[in-house]
Structures are given as C-alpha cells and as structure tokens.
Symmetry: C2
C-alpha cells in the first residue's frame, strides 16, 4: 500500500486549480478545457493519484463508472479481435475503458464474467452470446437497468438491443455469384448448426440454390468448428463425396482459410481447381494468396456501430431496445476464381 | 436499478444455510463443500444477487477482488489471443475473472487502462508492455503492492516479475537449421527494431550467421510491422535485393504467414522456392499449407505459466520479482523445405 494517499487537494494545489476542477477532470467532464485537463492529468500521473471509484460510487448515487464490458464467445477467431479493436476506438474517444472477457462458448464462464463485470459497476455491456444463451440469462442486467447490446448473435426474446449482419442476404449473394460462374454443386462448409447465425447463412445459401435451380442436397452441408482447423476437416469431407462439389460457401473466413489449406494439402489450387467464398472479411482476407472472396460484414466497423449504439443508450439513461441488421456486401477477390485474369495481370505487373 | 436489493440474509434463508456460509461462497472459500456451493450459487443466480465488491473492499481492508487484469499490446495478433486463452484457463480455475485490455502499442492507452484497472481493485496485472514502456510507468503499481508480471517483453529496470522466451536461442537454432539445409543468404524479416524482443531474436540470427560463416549484411535485415501485411511487404523487399536471399527467419508467425502470401503472389512456392521460418507457433502454424516451421514458444502454455507466476505472488501476499526465461524449441514442418519428402508422403496417403 502507498504510505501517504494523495488527495484531490494535493492535486489541486500542485496544478494550481480549484478542487472542483480536479473533480471535474476525474469525471471526464466536458466543462474543463483541454489545457487545464492536460495540466491536471499530468499532475495526477506525477503524484500517482488513484481515483477510488468504489468509494466514489458509494458516495454519489449517480456516479458512473467508466467501464464498458465486452464479452465474446471466441477470442481465437480474429473476427472478434477486430470487433474488439473497433469497439475500443469508439469507447476510448468517449472516455471509457473496455474490459474484454472471453467465454470460449461456455455458458458457465459467461455467467461468471458478466456477474463480475456487474459487481464492478460497468456502464454497459456488449455481448456476443455463447451458444445456448437464453433471454433469462440477460434478465438480471435488464432488470438492473444496465444497457446491453448483443452483437453478432441475437438472443430470442431478450429485451436488449442487437446489431447483427444480414446473414441471409450475404449468403444468398455469394451463392448466386458462384452459380453465375457455372458451379452446379456448391457446398456449405463449417459452423455449428445450433446457432442463429448458421441458420441464417444456411437459409440464404439454400434459397439461392433453389432459386438457381441447383442441387440443394443435404450431403453438401458439412458442419465443423468455425475455425481454420474446422475448415480443413470440412473440405476434406467435401472432397470425399461421391459427386464432388466444385465450390463452397464457408461459414466464416476462418473456415474458408482452412478450406484453402485443405485444398492445397490435396494438391488442389483454391480459386483455380475449387472456388472458395468466406464470410466476415477479416484483415487478412485481402492479403491472403489467393485473396479471399468473402461477404464483408466489416468487423471493425461493426465494432464502431455496436459501441455507438451502446453509448447512445448509456447517455440517454434508458435502454430502449433497438434491433439493427447491418448490410453486407460481397467482395470478389481471387479465391472464387472469377478474377483469375485479374490475378494474372497483377502477378505480371 | 433493482427496486429491492437482495441481501445475504435472503440468500441464506432461501438456500437453507447460514449467513456465514453464503459469505464464504461469495469469497470462493475452499471451506465450503461443492454441493453447498452449488446450492448457494443457484439461489444467488435465481434471486439476482450482486455482490457489491466496492462496498466490500471498503468494509474489509483485507478483502480481495477477484479480477486479474491482462493488458496486451496487439490483440489482432493471434499470439496474444492464445496467450489470453491460456491465462484464462488458469485464473478461471483459481476463481478469478480475467479482464483483458488492448493498447495497440499506445502508451497513453496503456496508462489509461492500467489506471482504470487499479481503480477497480485488480488483484494483479499481467502486462505485455507497449513499445517504449519505462520502469517508471510500473512504479505506482509496485508502490501500491499490486503484483505485476511482464510477459513477452521485459521492461528494463522494472522491479516486477517477467516471463519471456529464450529469443536468442530460438533464433539461433532456426538459422543454424537453415544454414544446414545449404542456404547461404538468409534474411531476417519483420518486427520493430526498437523492441527488446526484436533485438534478442536479431542477435540470435546474427550470431548464428557468423558462427556458420555466412553473410550477415545489413541489407538482409528488413523490418516491418509484426503483422501478416508487414510480412508481405518485407518479403517483397527481400526479393528485390540485387542478390536475393533464399531463406528467411521471420520475426513472428504473422510475418511468416505474410511472407508465404508474398511469395505466392510472386509465383514462388514457400518451402520449395524459398524457405520460411516463423517464431511463436500459433495454432494455425500446424494446419497452414505449407505447415509452418517455427520456433515454438507455446503461446497457451506461456499464458498458463504467466498466470501461475502471478497467482503465486498474489497468494504469497508479496511481490518478489522473478525473471523467468522460458525455453523454446524449433518445430520443423514444411515451410523451410527440409521435409519436402515427408510432405510428398503425406499428400499421397
């Protein structure tokens, strides 16, 4: 423990401002001009003052902590890292700090981390729910008036805001594009069938196949973990079918990268011998070789919008539920084979 | 806000146990048997009780919060996601919750998130310091008696524990292996030259080149962001050298994957036309095609050991600084070209 606790009065004296100015700076009030704020913050750092948020919260019933809780279901998927970075940009400029926790799809862990975040007085929560999350899991938060935004996955019946992607439209556009390139047997690779996201993407895939008059046999739908390793396994199974598909829409980019790896392991060239389309548009989709054709949900941009939605609710002081479905777009690169000419040109430059 | 606040007495009554048993469960005491703990926890969930940690901390001077703060410098690098997952496994089984924050190499952001974590009474901090972190940045934590473990990167002069990898030995082994395969011009690709990790890996690379009597020209050292995109750019510059290298040790796996992508973009096959070795051994190193030869630091295992080191200090109640250098091993897969035969065999099975 520090022997002598630095007080607000010490800070005020050293910075040459009033005690209430220091308090305003500590509360990130917009009433303090930038120069004063910088001066006070410099003194705070120098003297090593720590604002006792716990005590402050007890003192002032309307005091707000400056934490946004973010709970995701799979941090090893770079989609979620990019989402978190996007969220961080917005909460940071609003004067909040993001505390991130990973559930790894465990409902028990999700319960624990949310409880712990509540104990520490989060101002709001962004949640990509673990598989099997039910509306009752979110009820205590809603009852306590803590703004919650579900992202990526919705929870049926939960009275909280949500921001998801237009999964059906994205999958539909991708499959229609593959059909237009002449593919007759198009697989759907990866993902857990018990998630709403899987269901929406699968329905978009299926509706597009039927619309194009193509084979929509169940053998073409091969689930797997939504990871790179899952993609390797899924494409192997696809290649072992009696009548091989020649193209696949993958559940997400991680599966698509795995599918490309699995194809190479079988001496097939992705984008030439087999068309691969992903879903998400993570950063490396662009630099991968072949560059990944994918349905872009813009993970960082999704993070921004989610954070903005949450901050709006926090500032409004009430949590009116809004359900936003973000638009997506098909980004055509090399892995679907439609721009082989372009790749040729790029390679020759 | 919840209208009527649920108390410990309500919980005790509903669970049919004493008030002190409820308190012990709330403190995750080992004195309560599993059946009772489960019963109490079920009632806690049902009634929506929230333990007011802030109030508890003020009431009991020796009360400990159950948060471990984890601050990393680049969450978009999957190494850090895996490290965090490893840390989480250990802190979780010890009854803690991990709050993760990303600095994106910003010292300002690092200061903010650490201050916020301190305010919320973390039990300890695991920090992969942002570039340019100085011992003085950690001094307030040390003065406050908060256990800190630096991981991945050390901070010179900081009196805190650290767990880093034997970067010199790993780089030395990788380059010696490449030299043994007959490579005469071996590049060092990626990384920021102002970090200790870069310096250690670079020295291992350089010492091995000199030991093998090979060219150690400065032109062979090409820095870049330690990312996939950085790797693409670095290998492009390497291929543009008047006398091209035929192999490269990359700063980390992300750079190595980027180098493989950059080679393919130039119609060169990694592992056949150019040998690539990474550093870290992230999950996808194994499933990538070609599978990545890399210096394994075992990111998840590093997370476990770091968490164990921190918990030991928390439980001991004092923060004696320990500096641990974890051993590494060279994992030979396909990207260095030494097991082309094996790949052939695997492909034919």
């Amino acid at each position: 423990m520090v022997k002598e606790r630095v007080t607000v009065i010490d800070i005020a004296r050293a910075a040459g401002v009033s005690k209430s100015t220091v308090s305003l700076v500590l509360q990130a009030s917009p009433l303090v001009n930038e120069v004063t704020r910088a001066k006070v913050n410099a003194v705070i750092r120098e003297l090593g003052y720590v604002y006792n948020r716990g005590a402050a919260n007890l003192r002032q019933s309307n005091a707000k902590s400056k934490i946004i809780g973010v709970v995701v279901n799979d941090l090893t998927n770079s989609f979620f890292a990019e989402l978190a970075v996007g969220i961080d940009m917005v909460v940071q400029s609003a004067g909040y700090v993001q505390f991130l926790a990973n559930t790894g799809e465990s409902l028990d862990r999700q319960r624990e981390v949310i409880a712990s975040m509540r104990e520490h007085g989060i101002s709001g929560l962004i949640l990509s729910p673990a598989r099997g999350t039910e509306a009752s899991d979110l009820k205590p938060l809603v009852a306590a008036g803590i703004p919650v935004v579900n992202v990526v996955r919705q929870v049926v019946g939960a009275k909280v805001s949500s921001l998801i992607s237009d999964n059906h439209a994205g999958a539909h556009a991708a499959v229609t594009h593959l059909a237009g390139l002449g593919h007759r047997r198009i697989a759907f690779l990866g993902g857990f069938a018990d998630t709403a996201v899987f269901h929406e993407r699968f329905q978009g895939y299926r509706d597009a196949l039927i619309h194009a008059g193509l084979d929509a046999g169940e053998d073409l739908v091969i689930g797997s973990a939504p990871s790179r390793a899952g993609g390797v396994a899924a494409v192997e199974r696809a290649l072992a079918l009696p009548v091989q598909p020649t193209a696949a829409l993958c559940f997400n980019d991680a599966v698509a990268f795995g599918a490309c790896d699995g194809l190479r392991a079988k001496r097939l060239e992705p984008g030439v011998d087999f068309a691969v389309v992903g879903f998400d548009d993570v950063i490396e989709a662009k630099t991968a070789v072949p560059a990944l054709t994918t349905v872009s949900v813009d993970p960082q941009g999704m993070g921004w919008r989610t954070a903005q939605l949450l901050l709006k609710q926090i500032n409004a002081g009430k949590a009116d539920a809004e359900a936003i479905v973000g638009s997506v777009r098909l980004v055509i690169r090399q892995s679907c084979g439609s721009s082989a000419d372009k790749r040729e040109r790029l390679a020759l430059i």
